[in-house]
């Protein structure tokens, strides 16, 4: 039942927009086409940023640099009570959505979605975003190089999300 309601949200949103626009006698088709053209330009403009970020993260992973950089972090994270199989997720989550999803699937495969790690992974994945990617796209769209403290604040928020997820699961709230 809940699943059915979830599936209905987006179609209903589209329907509402069309009904409102019809009521106000807008030229829906013309506006839609204009918007699509705008969207096409946007994709064209953000592509260089997507390529740049994909290449740099791919390089960090494939050359093994990421593992070397994170080597000193591991003992600290283990001490904080973070299970070992969650650590790669904590690190990949802000960088890449696809890679962190595959870490989650891996955890589900080995320990199951209702295990301690499985629950932690589900909550972390659902409560955070791909921080670096989002920042790159949004600031890329206006071609700004200075981003002030957004990256730091975003990463702090992600860290808090990881810690609270672990606390919640350890307290056996779920």
């Amino acid at each position: 039942m809940l699943n059915y309601i979830i599936m209905c949200i987006v179609p209903i949103m589209i329907l509402t927009i069309i009904i409102i626009a019809t009521k106000e006698k807008k030229d829906i088709f013309k506006l839609f086409i204009e918007g699509v053209l705008d969207g096409l330009k946007t994709v064209y403009n953000i592509f260089p940023y997507i390529l740049a970020i994909t290449i740099s993260i791919g390089l960090l992973k494939s050359t093994g640099a990421l593992n070397i950089l994170l080597y000193p972090l591991k003992p600290i994270l283990l001490k904080l009570g973070i299970p070992e199989d969650i650590i790669p997720l904590c690190i990949m989550r802000p960088l890449s959505g696809g890679a962190s999803m595959s870490v989650v699937m891996d955890i589900f495969n080995t320990s199951g979605p209702d295990s301690v790690s499985g629950k932690m992974a589900s909550i972390i994945m659902g409560a955070t975003e791909t921080t670096l990617y989002t920042i790159t796209i949004l600031f890329g769209a206006i071609k700004l190089k200075k981003i002030r403290g957004v990256l730091i604040a975003g990463l702090i928020a992600d860290f808090v999300a990881v810690v609270t997820s672990i606390i919640l699961v350890n307290l056996k709230i779920i």
Partner: protein, 190 residues
């Protein structure tokens, strides 16, 4: 951003050279290039569709009402002096799509919003406080119902796929609060 990116490349290349696998560099760039292109190509259709639909929506009067509702509820996060009505409308479309969980649509609306905020800031090279707060809101997952996670959990045979919904709200709440406090402090200092 430019520094972070350069550092990532330099470290990777130096590590590859020292570890004795310099060939991975070019292979990895080739793979990433392919992946990025495939991802973007597969996104174009959906992004353009949402861009079209929201172009219809932003020309109706409903957007004004929604925008008013948002200014009343979360308006306190933003500095009202340099905030045009257009920015408000785009930001509220972005937040709505974020909450509903239509990723592509929120990207489209987010880009429009940041462009408009950039204009409010007289296209200054240094982002305004409003811009940093807005981007931060986008780096937090505001999605109310984490549908893809629920689907994945039931796919892997979870007994209660939806058990994570409330914990996710709690966690998002905490992380969003910290993020906002952090960005507000940073905005004051830098």
């Amino acid at each position: 951003m430019s520094k972070v990116w350069c550092l990532m490349l330099i470290i990777s290349i130096v590590v590859a050279l020292f570890m004795g696998n310099p060939d991975t560099i070019i292979n990895s760039i080739m793979d990433s290039g392919k992946n990025a292109t495939q991802n973007v190509i597969s996104l174009i259709g959906m992004m353009c569709f949402w861009s079209g639909i929201f172009n219809v929506f932003e020309k109706t009067s409903a957007i004004k009402k929604l925008s008013k509702f948002f200014s009343k509820t979360i308006g306190f996060l933003f500095d009202k002096k340099n905030l045009s009505d257009t920015s408000k409308e785009y930001m509220c479309m972005n937040l709505t799509t974020n909450i509903i969980g239509v990723g592509n649509a929120s990207t489209v609306n987010g880009i429009k919003a940041i462009k408009s905020l950039h204009k409010d800031n007289n296209e200054n090279k240094i982002p305004s406080n409003n811009m940093t707060v807005f981007v931060l809101l986008n780096t937090a997952s505001l999605q109310l119902i984490p549908s893809s996670m629920i689907a994945l959990r039931s796919l892997y045979g979870s007994e209660s796929p939806t058990a994570i919904v409330i914990p996710i709200w709690i966690v998002t709440g905490f992380s969003l609060l910290t993020g906002i406090i952090a960005i507000k402090l940073i905005n004051k200092k830098i």
